[in-house]
Symmetry: C2
Subunit: 212 residues, 2 copies
Amino acid sequence: MKILVIGASGRVGSDLVEKLLADNHQVIGTTRQDKKLFDADNYSQLDLDLLADKEAIQNQMDNDIEAIYFVAGSGNKNLLEVDLHGAVKTMEAAQDKGIQRYIMLSTVFSLDTKKWQSSAIANLKEYYIAKHYADQWLVNDSTLNYTIVQAGALKERAGTGKITVNSSDAGENTIPDVAATLAAVLSANSASKKVFSMQNGDTLIKEAIANL
Amino acid sequence: MKILVIGASGRVGSDLVEKLLADNHQVIGTTRQDKKLFDADNYSQLDLDLLADKEAIQNQMDNDIEAIYFVAGSGNKNLLEVDLHGAVKTMEAAQDKGIQRYIMLSTVFSLDTKKWQSSAIANLKEYYIAKHYADQWLVNDSTLNYTIVQAGALKERAGTGKITVNSSDAGENTIPDVAATLAAVLSANSASKKVFSMQNGDTLIKEAIANL
């Protein structure tokens, strides 16, 4: 499958691209870096400016892209322009190009504002607001075949291959497990038009996704 | 009518409250200031924290409020929390309380991102993004009986009583004319579920609104 990964140089993005390449997908990764991030033949790279207008973003998307991952983030530096409006512009562009499959990396409880009282989230309030409205646009205002993967705190630890989904509490995630979960939802019918939270747990990723 | 004006101390808000009081409405103005902003018997005041959660905001809204104006703004200081999420929380609170009439002061071309290339708007990009998603929530995601008044540049000049609506170009507005237009849409059926831009022009405000 030809896949666009927006945010290929990030911690999750680079792990995700590696997995997709290993699965023999053709991957276009976007990054602002000049250096080619991956050496594989099935990898190519694009400098996609999320601050550009929707038409410019759309013009850089190949016609034969079949799925888009949004795993970019501004690191709280430009939440309105990147995490919110940048994300929504890629959704609009995807929709207008007829690319139906759109997978968003988001954050636990992004759509459940009642859970935002916890101190962990209160400290990330602006980030949560940006992700909230981007996710909401995807669910309520787009016609895309979306999956929103809401991961809790990201930890740079080895993957476990096991997760828990839709727990009532937030929990930690190893980055390889988040990347593996993102890769696993790609063609899973059970993940179509679904929003789910994840954290490390006891269920094999594939099984957790099959039971969404 | 009992009316809540969110942002009563602002340049437009204070003019608007004066007009509503003169029209014999009962007005509750929200402001962070302790001092009572208006001396009239039909005026009362509330310190409504837009950073509080939706429930707290809702609990401060009297049950017999019949219309809400949102004319608050953070002056670019807290766009995500105030202009976007603060606004949407008041919409949700209104909706959950059964207050149907909701009038939003917004900015010209807030919903028309194709017009954002002009340098005037490019310099206000983050403000536009915040207003865009708040307005979009109101139109697409709420069940409120809204009117969105999209005013161009606000000027501290005497009112003219005349405006042009839905011009293809942005233009200037005197603050008294914006306040008068906001007051005039309150009970106008022609303004129900309408979004319109305004600027000073040649048509009497009442007439321009009747023809929306």
